[in-house]
């Protein structure tokens, strides 16, 4: 069986004024169809770089990345992307911001407007579709950004610390909503985060990364049952996973105990 995303011995080296900087080294990871994988690590461990390489926005300087058996040359088809900042365009209404995905892809806007409205409804933004981004809170804006990524039904969803800038309660809300839509559609998701609890709550597998140079040190399978209510975070199993990951990071000297 062909993996959905297959990363083989990928490396990324940047030229900088102070000589070459290795952001990624020898990363190998296969992500199955419909799997939710988190890239977890401290800042500067290259997790965002790895995500940009999977998105085809940057080319790895070593190794290969394939999507459904085809080596990448630029962004693959059927990709949705969510960034840490919502990147909503101030001059467009929320609905038009969601529809920009269709405009970029050259798909008929009218046909997708209905789907856009339905998505906004599902994320509690139905009454805000004609507002402008600056009229919405940070959490609502990020919800709109997720709707935008989902509009054209991407097969792979890449999320780069999407909830990193939100307060803890909004973050919880969005974690629940994300698992809910993932549960319903079972798309492949690659999720970048530096929160161990968030990674454990959301993921099927967590790829732990360390920095200097960025590499994957361990891949941990999270066998918690689904659907996962928020209260699963208080269970001993959940705690065991978090402790296990924290222990591994500590043993590697990445976090202090």
């Amino acid at each position: 069986m062909v993996a959905c995303v297959e990363i083989r011995a990928a490396g990324k080296t940047y030229a900088s004024p102070r000589g070459p900087v290795t952001a990624l080294e020898d990363v190998t990871l296969a992500i199955a169809e419909g799997e939710f994988v988190s890239l977890l690590g401290p800042s500067g461990c290259g997790k965002s770089t790895l995500l940009k390489c999977i998105a085809g926005l940057e080319a790895p300087s070593a190794g290969t990345i394939g999507v459904r058996g085809t080596p990448l040359a630029g962004p693959p088809q059927g990709l949705g992307m969510v960034f840490q900042r919502d990147v909503l365009l101030d001059w467009r209404t929320i609905l038009d911001n969601v529809l920009i995905t269709a405009e970029f892809q050259g798909k008929p806007k009218a046909a997708l407007a209905e789907r856009a409205r339905a998505l906004l409804d599902r994320f509690g933004l139905g009454d805000f579709q004609d507002r402008h981004p600056w009229e919405l809170s940070g959490g609502m804006r990020q919800r709109a950004a997720i709707c935008r990524a989902l509009l054209c039904e991407p097969e792979i969803l890449l999320m780069d610390e999407p909830f990193g800038a939100l307060d803890a309660m909004t973050r919880d809300d969005l974690n629940v909503e994300l698992t809910r839509i993932w549960q319903a559609a079972r798309r492949t998701v690659v999720f970048v985060t530096h929160s161990i609890a968030e990674a454990v709550y959301l993921s099927d597998r967590v790829a732990m990364m360390s920095k200097g140079p960025g590499r994957i040190v361990e891949v941990v399978a999270i066998d918690l049952p689904r659907p996962r209510p928020l209260s699963i975070r208080e269970t001993p199993e959940f705690g065991r996973h978090v402790a296990h990951i924290r222990g591994l990071f500590a043993a590697l000297g990445i976090v202090k105990e």
Binding site: K52, A55, G56, L57, G74, P75, Q77, L79, G80, M81, F83, R85, V87, L89, D90, W91, I100, T101, E103, F104, Q105, H132, W134, C152, L158
Partner: protein, 264 residues
């Protein structure tokens, strides 16, 4: 922005100060009685205008249309050049360097050359207006086209947007606020350019009126032309600002104005 258009209180203040200055001026001329050729009183200037309003308005109209033509041409050419500069390193080096060296030349010194090339009609005046106005348009538009969130470009690329779509849907709207900053500077420069052109050669426009009146030591007439120029310049500036408000209700600067007016 405390402009003429940002509420009646701002307008009242401006008018009040203006009336005060005129009254002081009139009183000073009455008291000190300088030679009429040095400083006529405002009442004399007003009478001078009423004497031949059609004459002044005709020349003001000529200057206005020259200015608007020069301004419009600068916006079209300037935005085009800015797009070219942003899209090609090669063009950036060539056009940008040329523009900077052109801008460092005193345009007044170039004006006679344009008269030689284009004659004494409206064309050299428009050309000089463009030369003065285009620089700020190009510089500000380039800045606006460049200062785009890299993530917005990444988003477009992930969705396979063509470079044209990225330009039209992201870069250009993003550059509009800077373009308006450039246009507000450019509209005044276009007016200066039109007057410079009329000074050098021509038989119409407020610059021509000033030149002729100066030859006849007709100071009141010079003042009428100056006042009309001041009114033209002010109206043109606020015209651009009004268009900006209609075009960019979404921009932070406009929202700040709306908030303040709402609370004030």
């Amino acid at each position: 922005m405390t402009g003429l258009w940002s509420g009646s209180s701002g307008l009242r203040g401006t008018v009040g100060v203006l009336v005060g200055v005129l009254v002081l001026w009139e009183a000073a001329v009455w008291l000190l009685a300088p030679a009429p050729i040095i400083l006529p009183p405002p009442s004399r200037i007003w009478i001078e205008f009423l004497d031949a309003p059609r004459y002044f308005l005709r020349h003001a109209w000529f200057t206005l249309s020259t200015t608007l033509a020069g301004f419009a041409l600068s916006v079209v050419l300037g935005v085009g050049l800015a797009v070219a500069i942003v899209n090609s390193r090669f063009l950036e080096r060539i056009i940008y360097t040329l523009l900077v060296s052109l801008n460092s030349l005193p345009k007044v010194a170039l004006a006679p050359l344009f008269v030689i090339w284009m004659g004494t009609g409206v064309e050299p005046k428009i050309a000089i207006a463009v030369m003065l106005a285009i620089f700020s348009i190009v510089v500000d538009t380039v800045l606006g086209l460049r200062s785009v969130d890299p993530d917005a470009i990444a988003l477009a690329r992930v969705n396979h947007a063509s470079p044209l779509k990225i330009l039209v849907k992201i870069r250009f709207p993003n550059a509009l606020p800077s373009l308006f900053v450039g246009m507000k500077v450019a509209i005044s420069f276009a007016l200066v350019g039109a007057i410079v052109g009329e000074f050098v050669a021509g038989s119409a426009g407020l610059g021509f009126v000033i030149l002729v009146a100066q030859g006849q030591f007709d100071t009141p007439r010079v003042f009428v032309a100056l006042v009309l120029l001041g009114i033209l310049g002010t109206l043109l500036f606020y015209l651009v600002e009004a268009v900006e408000r209609l075009t960019l209700p979404w921009h932070v600067s406009q929202r700040a104005v709306a908030d303040r007016d709402g609370h004030g």
